[in-house]
């Protein structure tokens, strides 16, 4: 029992990331009809926004500390982040410590901007081109984006820690009244899950309760009719693309403490997120979220030692395997609608 709970918890953080990326992919696909292979790159860019912000916050100048001396008796040179000069040392340290959550504030406008530029500058011209062309051009874009990041940040993963307050783990079993069951869970993963749940909730609420969302949902169901109503769908879709980019970017920002970001993380997640979208059902938002969590948890179960002993390597392929089985038995995915991408 405790092992099962632990695995479910372990699956939640990866599942959250899958769900957030898949949600954006589905939004873009459902509204614009575009298959975006560069979506993983947006997740990766989000992560590197966090890296950049934390670097900027620790950006320092050298001062001579007269109170201390080095072994030659000269005043010691110390690096002082500019942030100390503005907020003082104590507050400055807190800000640096909280760089990842603070990055969210910056990531939202940056990601929306990147999304809008991408849609206006590139994707827009591919609405009427075949799906193969859309795949290919966004695939090329994904390579370009990840190589640019690699050029500026190098090929090695860059550790980006969570705030001190969320470091370490806690005994989740104790909370369930299972003292000593050994369900130890890192705080930040719980934060990540809660954060993802809030984002997903916000996106759904936005689509459900605002006029904007209503139009977009109508557009997803039937683009032509909505166009006939004289509503400027294109503009809304641009905003939609920005929103999807922001969701992917935020997923990336918050993921940095779990896995140190590297330039190819976007592609690693993208391939799996596509599989998630297909399993959930192309064009179904709730399907994408559901499948994201399901597959994340499934992957974590497949990584259990007991499972690996009987089926070695199953953790590496379980998601693909499930995808293949789902596509063969339920061609439209778990919650796919008829008529989407059926040619």
């Amino acid at each position: 029992m405790d092992a099962i709970i632990l695995q479910i918890l372990n699956g939640l953080d990866k599942g959250s990331a899958y769900a957030l990326i898949a949600l954006g992919l589905t939004l873009i696909f459902g509204t614009l009809g575009v298959v975006n292979f560069a979506h993983g790159a947006l997740f990766m860019i989000g992560a590197f926004v966090a890296v950049t912000i934390s670097r900027l916050l620790t950006f320092s100048h050298v001062v001579l500390d007269e109170t201390k001396t080095d072994f030659l008796g000269n005043p010691l040179k110390v690096e002082v982040p500019y942030i100390y000069d503005i907020f003082g040392e104590a507050a400055g340290n807190t800000i640096i410590d909280w760089s990842v959550p603070i990055s969210i504030l910056f990531a939202i406008p940056i990601m929306i901007l990147i999304g809008v530029i991408m849609e206006r500058g590139l994707i827009r011209h591919f609405y009427k081109r075949p799906h193969a062309d859309q795949i290919l051009v966004t695939f090329g874009l994904a390579i370009v984006l990840q190589e640019i990041i690699k050029y500026f940040y190098g090929a090695n993963p860059i550790p980006t820690p969570a705030p001190e307050a969320f470091k370490g783990s806690f005994d989740f079993g104790a909370m369930l009244g299972m003292e000593g069951a050994g369900i130890i869970y890192p705080y930040w993963r719980l934060v990540y899950f809660a954060f993802s749940a809030i984002i997903i909730g916000a996106v759904f609420a936005f689509l459900q309760f605002t006029t904007f969302g209503m139009v977009v949902r109508a557009g997803m169901a039937d683009r032509e009719t909505v166009g006939l109503l004289g509503i400027n769908i294109d503009k809304r879709f641009t905003i939609m693309f920005g929103l999807a980019a922001a969701v992917a970017g935020l997923a990336g920002v918050m993921y940095t403490p779990i896995n140190s970001p590297n330039y190819h993380m976007g592609m690693d997640f993208l391939v799996l997120s596509f599989v998630v979208v297909v399993v959930g059902g192309m064009g179904s938002l709730s399907g994408a979220v559901l499948a994201g969590f399901l597959l994340g948890i499934l992957e974590s179960f497949a990584s259990m030692t007991v499972v690996l002993e009987t089926l070695p390597g199953i953790n590496q392929i379980i998601i693909y395997l499930v995808a293949i089985i789902v596509l063969l038995t339920r061609p439209r995915g778990l919650m796919g609608k008829a008529g989407v991408m059926e040619e």
Partner: protein, 400 residues
Amino acid sequence: MLGLNKKDFGLLTIVIILTVFAPFILNPFPEGSALAQFNAGYPDLMQRLVIFGIFAIGFNILFGLTGYLSFGHAAFLGAGSYAGIWMIKLLTLNIIPAIVASVIVAGLFSLLVGWISLRRSGIYFSILTLAFAQMSYSLAYSVLTPITGGETGLQPKVADPRIFDAPLAEGVTPRANFFGMFMNDSYELSVAGWVFTFNVGYYIAAIFLVIAFYISIRIFRSPFGLMLRAVKSNQQRLNYTGVQSKPYTLAAFVISGMYAGLAGGLLVAMDTQAGAERMFWTASGEVVLMTILGGSGTLIGPVLGAGFIKYFENIVSKINEGILQAWFSFMPEFLQEFFVAIFYPFIGKGWHLTLGLIFMLVVIFLPGGLMEGGQKISNLFKKKSKTDSGSGSAAPEAAE
């Protein structure tokens, strides 16, 4: 001739001439000259040019004719490589069993993958093939290590059984051969300042390229090829014309898988090693790029595309900051620094960035690839020289 019409026979002749004289064509600059870095006439690169040409020709039979975009063809190349290296380890260092086995294994593997993936079309098909390839890659890296050698890959060892070969003498490294001709043996011809290298492995691979190209022409001109183009054009009409599209697409998938396997087997024959990285999705993406860059659905386009990509990969990767500085040294210093700074990200290790950009530019501006670009230019000239009608009839058959 050979069952080809005049035009196709001409194309085949061009390919034969290009491959036979490649050691000259690719080495236009004298050894030691400043431009010698643009030479590509050394065995390793020439081998890769023709091997990836074969890979792209095969991919084009699937993508170019049927329009089914597979994102997992590297898996078949990888499977072929593993099959080949095992033949070399178990049976003999002669490359023939290795190549035969690669084609067969890749064919069977693609039959399985195709049979499942082709139940869906469009984007679903692309993602299914991608999923299969990534799965193969992960498995090759982890669980299948006993068969694939995991991260280190597989190489022939002195201690391998090689039941058909006489035991090697002490200290001799195992080298792949074709009835006693070693793949890495070369004959060097020095003429004035030029050095031309004629490599055994290259010419064997080139023979396979010519055969592969010939078969691809035959397929393109056959009723089977016509049906594949019909699949791409209008599958519904084809079905209501009494044709079942699945066996056609599956056959195309398997044929292209066998081409990939042949390429994988030849790679093994040349460098006697196999590793999982050959199956990675970027490798699948690369063959897609070669095909569309050259011109998908055209006969010779994929060969050109493969040559173009592999050539520039090699050249661009070799350029370093020093070379860039030398190029721009005629400029005032600040301009020189400026241009070096601009080009620097794209060279050396930045090859992938250049590749990604080429990818985007081709899809955006030249979806028909180099062949279409060339045709547009030549049409421009034709129109200028005389107002010749009948361009309509040229279009379908002009798909070389």
